[in-house]
């Protein structure tokens, strides 16, 4: 390796560390992303041109074509995707990274016949890369609603764990015996792909973000392992940074939902027990309201808090809610948004969605800061959120979300909940808040209902 390339890798590594650091602060995040991206750019260009290998021209052409094709596809996806689809997108991209690592492993396995110390890294890259690839695709399909039902074989935990142990033994066997047949490595590839599917399929849709974050971390580890194989520092450090950062992020998400990682992976969240637990609570009457009554209520209040959920984004009602908020503010009502840490489909997702429709940064208040404010609040407007305001998290030990920190909207003087119907939320858990005396339900599509509400308010 030329000294120039080594220096380029060194610089790239430093940009990764600095970039990741800057991504953690709102003021510097954008610059951090660009710095890391440019580091990646020079690492890629340096890798292509600064080496001492003799490479025929047509291979350069192939590499150029591959980069051009991939860059255009990636760019188009990135600018076209809707912000509501962000978790799906991260999952898909992540799967591609994993597949890339697995393919590298497959090719290199053919090159190193017999060198055991390299075989360890190659086999690890194949196993981890394939698990990430198939796991991410399943997560992507689930989030897209293509696999709504969580498929659970009987005793799936036992089966999965046994299968995983078998997979590890198989991998160890290949390293141990210095196996050099291509057939055996393709078998390993398939076995690992199957495990990725088995691993993600039983996990509930609501837990997908945690899984994606975990798989993201795994891709980083796969990249780092490939870095060891090539003695390449930028891959090693870049990969490990993602690996450890991803793991921390995974735990942060679990904490926000008051679950352990083991519980996410092995617990049957949203399964039959959950439905049974909530079933007893559905008795009671629901009070309905209409846009004009709701408008009157909000018009004559001093303080309104909006609780946005994913349903708001699905109905594309972010802009309407922003208009509503501006109108109320103009009328002298104090309005803010209560953001639960897992509002949307993953932590911070709701902030992105509201930012997209120009909602003021300062109006988005985190759960811990807004919870004490609910008791001085006249009206809480809950749009498309369910589990994050479910009091069962406080007072029903049998509920699957028991212990999860929630927004204490029931402390407000009155509550308006917009929902399409009485169907339980994403996690499939019934919500007793709907039957609260202070609650009135504004049924209908979020965008339609809010537009009507906005119209009524304008006429006042």
């Amino acid at each position: 390796m030329s000294i120039t390339l080594s220096i380029i890798y060194l610089i790239a590594t430093i940009t990764f560390v600095i970039g990741l650091k800057m991504l953690g602060h709102p003021e510097t995040a954008k610059r951090g992303n660009l710095i890391a991206a440019s580091g990646m750019g020079i690492a890629i260009i340096g890798t292509i041109f600064l080496h001492d290998l003799e490479v025929p021209m047509f291979i350069y052409a192939l590499i150029g074509a591959a980069i051009l094709i991939g860059a255009i596809i990636g760019w188009l996806i990135a600018i076209k995707v809707e912000m509501t689809k962000m978790p799906e997108l991260v999952s898909l991209f992540n799967g591609f990274g994993g597949a890339s690592a697995a393919l590298i492993g497959i090719v290199e396995f053919g090159n190193i016949m017999g060198e055991t110390s390299k075989a360890i890294t190659i086999i690890a890259a194949i196993v981890i890369g394939s698990i990430t690839f198939s796991g991410s695709l399943i997560a992507w399909a689930k989030l897209n609603g293509m696999m709504w039902k969580d498929i659970r074989l009987p005793k799936y935990n036992l089966i999965n764990n046994l299968y995983f142990i078998g997979l590890l033994l198989f991998a160890a066997y290949i390293v141990w015996t210095n196996a050099d047949s291509n057939v055996i490595v393709y078998l390993l590839l398939i076995a690992a792909l199957v495990y990725g599917v088995l691993f993600v399929i039983p996990i509930g849709g609501a837990d997908m973000p945690v899984v994606i974050s975990l798989l993201n971390s795994l891709t980083g580890i796969a990249a780092a392992i490939t870095g060891i194989l090539y003695g390449n520092m930028v891959m090693l450090v870049g990969g490990i940074l993602v690996g450890s950062a991803g793991l921390i992020l995974t735990f942060a998400m679990c904490t926000a939902m008051n679950r352990s990682l083991a519980n996410v992976i092995f617990g049957a969240f949203g399964g039959e027990e959950a439905v049974a637990a909530g079933a007893g609570k559905t008795q009671g009457t629901v009070k309905k309201t209409n846009p004009s009554d709701a408008a009157v209520l909000m018009n004559y209040s001093d303080k309104v808090i909006i609780v946005p959920g994913y349903g708001l984004a699905v109905a594309q009602a972010q802009h309407v809610i922003h208009e509503l908020e501006e109108l109320l503010t103009k009328k002298g009502v104090e309005v803010s948004y209560a953001i639960h840490p897992v509002a949307g489909r993953m932590p911070g997702h709701m902030n992105v969605l509201l930012a997209e429709s120009n909602v003021d940064y300062d109006k988005l208040i985190d759960m811990d800061d807004i919870n004490p404010q609910f008791k001085n609040t006249d009206v809480v407007l809950v749009v498309g959120a369910n589990d994050v305001v479910n009091p069962a998290a406080h007072n029903d030990p049998s509920s699957p979300i028991y212990g999860m920190p929630i927004l204490d909207v029931e402390n407000a003087k009155s509550i308006i909940i917009n929902k399409r119907s009485m169907n339980p939320g994403y996690a499939g858990i019934q919500n007793e808040l709907f039957f609260n005396q202070k609650t009135s339900m504004l049924f209908g599509d979020a965008k339609e209902a809010l537009t009507k509400l906005l119209q009524e308010l304008k006429n006042m």
């Binding site: 560390v17 192939l62 591959a66 990636g74 090719v107 141990w176 980083g220 990249a223 932590p347």
Partner: protein, 103 residues
């Protein structure tokens, strides 16, 4: 056991760096506000696309007559660069929105 000892012996320097990098990663991400979790996840995801460097190496080192290695390497480069370009671009798009209203 021999294989593992040999592996550690040959990659000792790498293992040192690996362990230190784990701690740096943890320190960098600790205490990040939930607001930034989504862009951070997507940015980290783009970073993991660094695996593309390996994919390029596969192609550069491939025997020009080894069609399978070239084809697999080609796919690896395409997938890797999608991860990199798409990941950074979408992160930038998200962060741009935050920036807009902080005037």
């Amino acid at each position: 056991m021999n294989q593992i000892v040999e592996f550690i012996d040959q990659n000792l320097e790498m293992i040192y760096i690996l362990i230190l990098a784990v701690f740096i990663g943890v320190e960098l991400i600790k205490n990040i506000p939930a607001v930034l979790h989504t862009p951070l996840m997507s940015g980290a995801n783009a970073l993991s696309g660094v695996v593309i460097v390996g994919a390029i190496l596969v192609m550069l080192r491939a025997d020009p007559n080894n069609f399978i290695a070239l084809a697999l390497g080609f796919i690896a480069v395409v997938l890797g660069i999608i991860n990199v370009v798409g990941g950074f671009a979408v992160t930038n798009r998200m962060l741009q929105m935050f920036k807009k209203k902080r005037k």
